[in-house]
């Protein structure tokens, strides 16, 4: 009996629900030294001096290091596979501590003390003086000549500029009778807000450095810590226990190198560096804010003659994942609604704010807000139903992308639309909500999304798996791909049980902790690809293990191996279905046989040279209270085709989380910086308006299960996609309710007040008198 496709209880449910599960801080020894970071109080400038004399007098302070003490090594932080080709390596622009500070909150010094209080007191007592320089927060301003330069290697602040040129845009727009829709869409800086802040704990054993870290990518962090400290990579051991979410922020090297460096400065004693929430907002990573300019030239029949996208991505002070995000976002232009003449330009620009990195969707939530708002706007101007317009022009079945070789095998988009329409009663409501008057109005909107799994051919990743048979016929499974709350371990257990032929996924013990000393190499949690890539390595390794078990069974039972199978943890003779031995009996024999004892294990690697699209849509209904400038989501559904589901309940939970993030992204979240000083204004969970349970209606998740032909389990991406279509669906619903196009996120009261006033829905007479 296979557990694949069933909503079995997740393997870590009991430990997590009862509080037994161990996270980094739970593993930290109680007398660990406490490290804290001193942060810059200017947005741009040079540290000229640091006075630590007062801080050193504070009882309990063990060590203070400043930007003048650390080695001058620049390192990359992005959680990408390393490239052996220099041209494809991540930009190395970080140092452990910085003399040249590039955002308000940059790391300038660090304190190690016996306890929290002494460390905090020391941080407050350290006096830093700066040679302050002008700063710039907006990417378009940062591109202008004469703007402050953040990195001398990059004098125009443009980290990278890539283009798409398809057909002949300039000639195509000359076609007579074309409708031109030319609009800008603005997406703010947001943060992941995972529940567990980033934390690292480091100690030394011999000349080796051990780091427990809340990370998504232990094997990558091993490499980057080595690069940052300038020491051999094998001297570093990263241990990744359970983590309280990451959403891409922890797909980056954060404070592991600094924690390790501080540990080395205090003789290898255990040092804990636990980043407070306020610093997590500012000094970890954020999602790239973007300004996206879309120009569409449309014929009367709705076909696109030519399209242009200009995308300006706010990188913040350091490169992190850099241009990869903007480049992926730009990729939607020619693909989602194919058009023969496309001109695309994406710029990733350094500015003096928090560094942007990976965040759930990797550029696609931003691109979808622009693209699907724009699609609505084009349909509106053509006077056609926007859903029919989508159906007519969205990526057709059979489309193959030349670069990734991804293929749209099924009529996924229409199947997803149909499910959303049925659940929401879309067409009826669309009709009903026409021509409303009055202060409170309802609206319904839809948005599709485009997403692709894995990174081939940009990088060749591989996934490795190890399986070990126990005496009782259960197995351990290890992979480098990490459990970060999404339920990956459970999916691995379900797949492994099926491949090997075990009775239940409960007979598989997935070793949840990755330890770079013992865990097979794998790149970790990113790009919504773990279930997909592990489906290959688990299938390959499970096949080897099963073959070894059957070899042993053939020897024990003197049967032809061709007539044996492992079914439900039994050795079965296939010719008559007779159970010859249980796997437990075989395993015990194998361990302790007097004639042939053997530890049956398997290990294999699979190179991922495939890639898969993952598509779907969101449909949202809103109630807009115009005088209160508030939009409330009253009903919402996401429909996904992520291939065959390994565990429907976990898949649903994944979608719920993404929808929740999407609602916050749409309506309330924005990390703000003071235009006068560059200081972050709302870097705490009160003032940063992460949406709460009370801000959500029931979140409906449905699926279309077209089997992905490249995966042995027919599965593909679901981690990030749920966050991608929500904001434009809500935006289009607000448009449906009020007739107002809101082209800036978040659609909170501040922006709705401005837009409703501009459009005459709000008319405060006293404001006219003032102006």
């Amino acid at each position: 009996m296979s557990d694949v496709g069933k909503s079995v209880i997740r393997v870590d449910a009991y430990d997590k629900a009862t509080g037994r599960a161990k996270y980094t801080d739970d593993l930290c020894e109680r007398n660990a030294l406490i490290a804290k970071v001193v942060r810059s109080t200017v947005a741009h400038g040079y540290v000229t001096s640091i006075d630590t004399s007062e801080a050193e007098k504070i009882p309990g302070v063990v060590k203070i290091v400043t930007c003048f003490d650390v080695p001058d090594i620049k390192f990359p932080t992005a959680g990408h596979p390393w490239s052996v080709e220099e041209a494809h390596q991540d930009v190395a622009d970080r140092r452990l501590l910085n003399r040249h500070v590039r955002y308000y909150g940059d790391d300038v010094a660090a304190v190690v003390a016996d306890n929290d209080v002494a460390a905090d007191q020391a941080v407050r007592a350290i006096k830093v003086t700066y040679d302050e320089k002008p700063f710039v927060l907006d990417p378009l301003e940062a591109m202008k000549p004469g703007a402050p330069v953040l990195h001398k290697e990059c004098p125009d602040n443009i980290l990278k500029h890539t283009t798409i040129r398809l057909g002949d845009y300039q000639n195509a727009i000359k076609e007579p009778g074309l409708l031109c829709v030319d609009k800008w869409y603005t997406i703010p800086t947001v943060q992941h807000c995972h529940i567990e802040n980033h934390i690292a704990v480091s100690h030394m054993e011999g000349d080796r450095i051990v780091i427990e870290s809340s990370t998504q990518i232990p094997h990558i962090v091993r490499r980057t810590v080595g690069q940052a400290l300038g020491i051999s990579w094998g001297r570093i051991r990263i241990i990744k226990p359970y983590i309280g979410g990451g959403f891409g922020n922890k797909q980056d090297t954060l404070y592991e190198p600094l924690c390790a460096y501080l540990c080395m400065q205090v003789g290898g004693r255990t040092v804990k560096l636990d980043i407070p929430r306020e610093d997590t907002f500012v000094s970890n990573r954020v999602r790239h804010a973007m300004k996206i300019h879309l120009v569409s030239w449309v014929r009367k029949d709705g076909t696109y003659a030519a399209r242009k996208m200009e995308l300006y991505s706010n990188q913040g002070g350091y490169a992190s994942h850099g241009h990869s995000i903007a480049a992926k976002a730009l990729g939607t232009l020619p693909q989602m609604y194919p058009c023969p003449n496309c001109e695309g330009d994406a710029y990733t620009v350094y500015t003096n704010q928090s560094a942007a990195g990976a965040m759930r969707g990797y550029g696609i939530p931003q691109a979808m807000f622009a693209m699907e708002s724009h699609t609505e706007d084009v349909a509106e101007r053509l006077g056609v139903d926007s859903l029919e317009f989508r159906r007519a022009h969205i990526m057709p079945v059979g489309y193959v992308d030349n670069f990734s070789k991804n293929c749209n095998y099924f009529d996924t988009y229409n199947q997803c639309f149909d499910k959303a329409v049925a659940y929401m009663d879309y067409y009826k409501k669309r009709e009903e909500y026409k021509n409303q008057t009055g202060p409170v109005r309802k609206g319904i909107g839809i948005a599709a999304f485009w997403y692709n799994t894995a990174v081939w051919p940009i990088a060749l990743e591989h996934s490795s798996c190890r399986m070990v048979l126990n005496q009782d016929g259960t197995i351990q499974v290890q992979v480098g791909e990490t459990e970060i709350g999404q339920g990956a371990d459970t999916a691995y257990a379900q797949m492994a049980a099926q491949v090997v032929g075990l009775k239940s996924y409960r007979d598989v013990h997935v070793v949840s902790t990755q330890d770079t000393d013992v865990t097979p190499f794998g790149l970790g949690a990113y790009a919504s690809r773990q279930t997909y890539v592990c489906s290959f390595s688990i299938t390959r390794t499970g096949g080897i293990l099963k073959k070894k078990i059957l070899d042993y069974a053939a020897e024990l039972t003197r049967q032809d191996i061709e007539n044996l199978d492992l079914i439900d943890s039994n050795i079965v003779r296939t010719t008559d279905g007779k159970v010859l031995k249980t796997l437990q009996e075989l395993a015990t024999e194998a361990f302790y046989s007097l004639t042939h004892s053997e530890h049956i294990t398997a290990e294999a690697t699979y190179q991922i040279k495939n890639n898969a699209y993952s598509f779907g849509c969101c449909c949202a209904e809103v109630e807009v209270d115009i005088p209160l400038c508030k939009a409330k989501v009253t009903k919402i559904i996401n429909v996904h085709d992520c291939g065959k589901l390994i565990n429907p309940a976990l898949a649903e939970a994944q979608v719920h989380g993404g929808m929740s993030m999407g609602i916050g992204f749409a309506l309330s979240e924005k990390l703000m910086f003071d235009p006068k000083t560059g200081r972050p204004l709302n870097n705490n969970l009160l003032d940063y308006k992460l949406s709460t349970f009370m801000d959500h209606p029931h979140l409906e998740a449905q699926f279309v299960e077209n089997p992905e032909p490249t995966s042995p389990f027919g599965t593909k991406a679901l981690g990030e996609p749920p966050a991608c279509p929500v904001a434009p669906a809500i935006r289009n619903a607000i448009l449906n309710a009020t007739g107002v196009e809101v082209d800036e996120l978040p659609m909170n009261p501040h922006i709705l007040f401005r837009r409703f006033t501009e459009e005459g829905l709000i008319n405060d007479p006293w404001r006219k008198e003032e102006s």
């Binding site: 407050r124 209160l628 703000m672 308006k689 949406s691 909170n748 501040h750 007040f753 405060d764 006293w766």
Partner: protein, 293 residues
């Protein structure tokens, strides 16, 4: 670990007063939902604390002989919301404090702390102003009663002497009898938020429910401290209930309030919302009083 240099646990109100006199530089801590956060942020780092949290005599709601509603200063928000006397005489206060933070904060946070903080955004503050609450302080020389509008001196500063602790919040019978109120918390999300603007209105209608006998309105976050809007109140006193009168009332609040531009909200948005909330709170108060608007 919190950076506090001393912690004194008061065993009685008298003992708390004594501790206040002995340690004039110490801060008072009750539930701690503000003090500990500020301590963590470094604002009160190294301070001494006098805890009054164990003083159960300051907990609970009761009715004085003259009908005054007495709310012990340590009564938690969740207990206020659940209290039968509150539900009977001033349900709007129970509703208002039920909008503070989340359930955990409402279990630990006290009305005494909410008022002594002196912040304009406190969810209890506008309703207490609109009901002309009286703050009872107990010091070395006994009790002192201060009308709430005089208690708030400026942002973050209240009229509490060096030997005093707040022991109760009193609602005079004259304020709550035949009076029906409604509080609207306008915030950026539905939970775990502070008010962008909070508005509390209460009305007393004529016996035939056709006229306003008395209308009171107060705001949080419309100025540095919570405030009444007397010009607006005057518009409706003795007036027939009508939508025109209600709109005139709501417009008139702009003569009284003084919201400012900040990154949290623009002055224009705050003014717009203040007018809208006045109207909505008035409508709901009238409805609760049995009238029609």
């Amino acid at each position: 670990m919190f950076d506090m240099s001393a912690y004194y646990e008061a065993s009685s109100v008298e003992n708390a007063i004594q501790l206040r006199l002995e340690h004039p530089d110490a801060d008072i801590i009750a539930g701690g939902s503000d003090v500990l956060i500020q301590m963590r942020e470094g604002k009160r780092a190294g301070h001494k604390l006098i805890s009054i949290y164990m003083l159960d005599e300051l907990r609970g709601v009761s009715l004085d002989e003259d009908g005054t509603l007495r709310i012990g200063s340590l009564t938690s928000f969740s207990h206020i919301t659940q209290d039968p006397l509150i539900q009977k005489y001033i349900p709007v206060l129970g509703e208002a404090v039920d909008m503070v933070g989340g359930p955990q904060i409402r279990n630990i946070g006290t009305i005494g702390g909410n008022t002594c903080n002196g912040v304009t955004s406190a969810d209890s503050a506008s309703t207490l102003h609109a009901y002309e609450a009286v703050i009872e302080l107990t010091g070395a020389n006994g009790k002192r009663l201060v009308p709430i509008r005089d208690f708030y001196l400026k942002a973050g500063k209240v009229d509490i002497h060096a030997d005093e602790i707040e022991t109760a919040v009193l609602i005079p019978k004259e304020s709550y009898e035949r009076t029906f109120g409604y509080y609207f918390k306008y915030a950026m999300r539905e939970a775990l938020d502070i008010a962008t603007t909070g508005c509390s209105v209460n009305v007393r209608l004529s016996d035939d429910k056709k006229k306003f006998e008395r209308v009171r309105i107060a705001y949080g976050v419309a100025g540095p401290v919570p405030m009444r809007a007397p010009s607006a109140e005057a518009v409706l006193t003795g007036r027939e209930i009508s939508i025109e009168a209600a709109e005139e009332f709501s417009r008139a609040v702009l003569e009284d309030i003084n919201p400012r531009d900040s990154w949290r909200a623009s002055k224009a948005l705050r003014q717009h919302i203040a007018v809208e909330l006045a109207l909505r709170c008035l409508k709901e108060s009238v409805r609760r009083a049995g009238g029609e608007l």
